[in-house]
Each structure stands twice: as structure tokens, then as C-alpha cells.
């Protein structure tokens, strides 16, 4: 991100928060901020951002709002109100990022709409940029955002009441994690715009965590993202093929991100209530500990997956635990655990991929090959299919 972009992204939620507090109409204010960001990026392009970028964007956005109110009133043949004439000049100091995140991740919206609105209203991305990142036409993304905003009419611009807060915060964290995953699983070489999503998700999660102070799960999520992002340079071959964890060139891992992520999760687990993101981050930290892939502490990973399954039960968690059990107690123990997943995950490619992996380690090559082939047929990801076919062919 360059200086101008940086300034625009920082300004977006602050200006939108201040404007919504003043004029109330979130949907209209959000449009005004988008127009102001566009104008700013044109005006600042060559010379860089002005001394007070937040104030600059705020003044332009507020002017748009006043124009809009005047326009509405003209249509209704009414006199201008004094309030709409007076232009505020002060720059917004208050940071409303958290309130905005709660609003954009409102439970009345679908996950896809929560994601799109969060990126636009809090992240300051344009509809075209979001459409690009999700590989859909702008004509698809535009209505999705408008519809989301229309659904929020009447929603209060305030943090949720205390009794709803934990659940609402979980939704916000999930949306940020989904944004990160969209970017992280994207093929780095060909999908640069999608890679930006991972960076954006980290930036937003960092902002949220700083604003919340000591929330264990926000810290856990940030840590999980950093520890995952740390491996991004090593997870893909030059031709776009996936490289599994145990075959990655560990010298390509980002040691600074690993150090920060590890420190964050260790602190969170010591000081706050345990949660699913902290556990996943702790597992990610064990995977990137110094040493070879062969030194990985699978026993500890299996324990963490067992606790995770108790906090947040899901077949996929058991699936991951089966890998850890297979690595620490032998492949047959892992295969035994897989049996209970046969029904719920029968059409899930990861189930067959894990089965192939464990069968291969058990020396049952023919069965492993069949399992990898089934997995290759079931995945909708092209790089995953290539990888799984290669595994099958190597047996």
C-alpha cells in the first residue's frame, strides 16, 4: 500500500463514522464517503496526501451530503434547513471503526453481503476493487452492496447492547477471517488483487484488536492470520502448484510475522478466556516452530484439536485431529478416527485427501491412490485438483 492509499483507507471509517453521527443516514453517508475517496485519490495522486487527510476527505464528503440534502429538499420544494447549510470544518478525531464493523456485520445480512459492505465501508475499497477481488462483475457486486445498505435502514449506529455483544463480535471476527481466507487461498502469481484481501483483513483485524484492548479472540484471530500469512511465500511453486506444509522451503517463511504471531497467541492464552481462534493460532504456531517438519509436535497438536472440538465441534476439526493422531500414534489410529466422519464428510474432498494421506503412510498404496483420485474429483479448486492428482499418480 502506498502513502495515498494508506491515507484513504485510514480516513474511510473515521469520516464515515463522523458523518453518520451527524447526518444519521448511513447509506447516503457511505455513498458520500466513497465519492470523496475517489475525489481524494484523483487530487492527491501526484503530490501525495495533504497534511490533514481525514479533514480533507471529511470536508468533501460533508459537502456531498449537504448537496444531497439540498437536492432532496429542492425536489420536495422545501426550504433549506439551517443545519444543511452549515459546513463543519473540524477533522474527525473519534475512531468509529468498531461501531462500523458491528453495523456492517449485522446479523440481518448474508455473509457475502457482510464481507462486501465491510470492505467498502470500513476498508474504503471501491465496488470495482471488491468485485475484482471476488472475480465477479461490478454489476453483480454493486446491487449486493446496495441491498445490504437498504437492509440496514433503521439499524442503530451504535455498538450492540451488552447481552448481544459476544455473539455479534463472533460474527465480526468470522467476517474478517473469511476475507483473509479469500485472499490467502488465492493463487499468488495470477491473483494479485485477491492477495490484497489477506493484507486488508490483517489491517482491519489489527485495528479491531487495538480498539478492543485485550480481547482474547480478536488477538487469537490476528495471530492466526499472521502465522498463516508468514508461510505465503513458501506455499506455492513458481507454476502455481500447491506445496504442502511438510515440503515447504522453511527459509522462505517470514520470521518476523511468526515471532509476532507467536507472541500474541501466547499472551492471549495466558491472560484471557480460551477460544477457538486462540487454539487455531496455537496450532499454527506449533506448525511453524523452528526445526524440520519431522520435529513437529503432533502430540501437542492432537491435544489442541481435541480441546477445539470440545469448544467448537465440527467434523473438519475431527478430520484435522485424525491427521495429528495419525502422525503421533501411527496411521492406523488416524484411520480409525476417520471412520466416524465417513457419513458427514462423504462428499468432502478433504476427507478423502486425509484418508489417502494416512493410507499412504500405512503402506496401502492402492487404496491411497483411489482416495486421492476421489478427492481430486470432489474439489472445486483447480490447484488442489492438480496437487491431488499428482499425489495419486506418484503412488
Amino acid at each position: 500500500m502506498n502513502g495515498v492509499e494508506d491515507a484513504l483507507r485510514t480516513a474511510a471509517p473515521r469520516v464515515l463514522g463522523a458523518l453518520t453521527r451527524r447526518y444519521g443516514d448511513f447509506a447516503a453517508c457511505e455513498d458520500a464517503v466513497q465519492e470523496a475517496l475517489l475525489e481524494a485519490s484523483r487530487a492527491w495522486g501526484a503530490g501525495g496526501p495533504p497534511d490533514n487527510p481525514n479533514g480533507w476527505v471529511y470536508r468533501v464528503a460533508a459537502r456531498r451530503m449537504v448537496d444531497r440534502i439540498r437536492g432532496d429538499e429542492a425536489r420536495r420544494r422545501r426550504e433549506e434547513t439551517a443545519a444543511s447549510r452549515e459546513l463543519p470544518v473540524e477533522a474527525p478525531e473519534h475512531d468509529d471503526t468498531v461501531t462500523l464493523l458491528f453495523l456492517c456485520c449485522h446479523p440481518a445480512l448474508t455473509p457475502a453481503s457482510q464481507i462486501a459492505l465491510t470492505l467498502r465501508a470500513v476498508g474504503g475499497l471501491s465496488t470495482a476493487e471488491i468485485a475484482n477481488a471476488f472475480l465477479v462483475p461490478e454489476a453483480t457486486m454493486g446491487p449486493r452492496i446496495s441491498r445490504a445498505k437498504a437492509k440496514l435502514v433503521g439499524a442503530r449506529f451504535a455498538e450492540p447492547p451488552a447481552e448481544e455483544r459476544p455473539q455479534r463480535l463472533r460474527t465480526v471476527l468470522r467476517v474478517l477471517y473469511l476475507i483473509f481466507n479469500e485472499g490467502y487461498t488465492a493463487s499468488a502469481g495470477r491473483r494479485l488483487q485477491r492477495r490484497d484481501l489477506a493484507v486488508e483483513a490483517i489491517r482491519l483485524t489489527r485495528t479491531l484488536r487495538d480498539a478492543l484492548g485485550d480481547d482474547g479472540e480478536a488477538t487469537g484471530l490476528l495471530s492466526l492470520m499472521l502465522l498463516t500469512e508468514a508461510r505465503s511465500a513458501a506455499r506455492e511453486a513458481a507454476d502455481g502448484a500447491l506445496i504442502p506444509l511438510d515440503e515447504q522451503d522453511r527459509s522462505l517463511w517470514d520470521r518476523e510475522l511468526i515471532a509476532e504471531g507467536t507472541r500474541l497467541v501466547e499472551n492471549a492464552m495466558l491472560t484471557s478466556e480460551l477460544g477457538p481462534y486462540q487454539l487455531q493460532a496455537a496450532i499454527a504456531a506449533l506448525h511453524v516452530e523452528p526445526g524440520d517438519a519431522a520435529d513437529t509436535d503432533w502430540e501437542q497438536i492432537a491435544v489442541l484439536y481435541r480441546i477445539l472440538n470440545r469448544l467448537d465441534p465440527a467434523p473438519v476439526v475431527t478430520l484435522n485431529r485424525a491427521v495429528a493422531i495419525g502422525m503421533s500414534q501411527g496411521p492406523q489410529a488416524g484411520l480409525d478416527l476417520l471412520r466416524q466422519l465417513e457419513k458427514p464428510l462423504a462428499r468432502h474432498h478433504r476427507f478423502h485427501a486425509v484418508r489417502g494421506f494416512l493410507l499412504d503412510r500405512a503402506g496401502r498404496s492402492d487404496a491411497a491412490r483411489d482416495a486421492f483420485r476421489t478427492a481430486a474429483r470432489l474439489t472445486a479448486s483447480l490447484p488442489e485438483r492438480r496437487y491431488l492428482r499428482r499425489r495419486a499418480d506418484s503412488l
Binding site: 457475502a112 454493486g142 446491487p143 452492496i145 487461498t185 495470477r190 506444509l245 494421506f357 496437487y387
Partner: protein
Amino acid sequence: MKFLLIMNVNPKVLDALTEEEQNAIGAGHGELLKELAATGEMIASQALADPSTSVTVKAVDGVPTPTDGPFVEAKEFIGGYYLVDVENRERAVELATKIPDARIPGLGIEVRQVMFDAGAEM
């Protein structure tokens, strides 16, 4: 998730429809197109010309060679498609049930996921 909703048609079934039934199909597609545009799920939708007008290019002695006619001689052909971007497979199936063809015996909608260029670490 992107899905292709493939409309399989049987020209004989289509020919046998009354004008009223054909108008109802047209109106049903119009409604669905409107809904998809408003929800932000629509990427593209096209109807395809009759398969009797197709040319098929196939290898003959290793050389791509055009021949008149469809790829397979079959009773059913792809009559058109909707390309949608939806929350999950269930929503894609729900949309397929809203395609008016799904109410006519002998026609059917196949819901197929579109592959993507991203992969999770294994």
C-alpha cells in the same frame, strides 16, 4: 461460490408446449432475472440457439476438424444457462427450482459448481 445452472431441454418437449405454457416460461425467466439482478447474485445468463445449427470441432487423425451437428446425438441439449455467484450449494439449488423449465416434465436443470483458481494448504 459460483454455479452454472444448466438448462437441459428436449426440443420435442418444447415444440409440444402450448403458447400459454411458453409465455409462462418466458415470464418466469423474466422474474428470475429481475430477482438475481437485485440480489447481486447474477453474473450472466444466455439462451443458446438450436443444436441443429451447431458445428462440432473434433480431432480427425489428430487434426481439429469441423463437422456440422452437435457433439453427441441426444434427445436433450443444453438450451441455456445461468451463471450465478451464491452463498452456498443450497441457494444454487433453490434458484434452479425457480427456473420455470423445472416445472415441465422432460426438462431439467443441472446445478454444477464452477472451479476456482485458489487452493487451501494441505
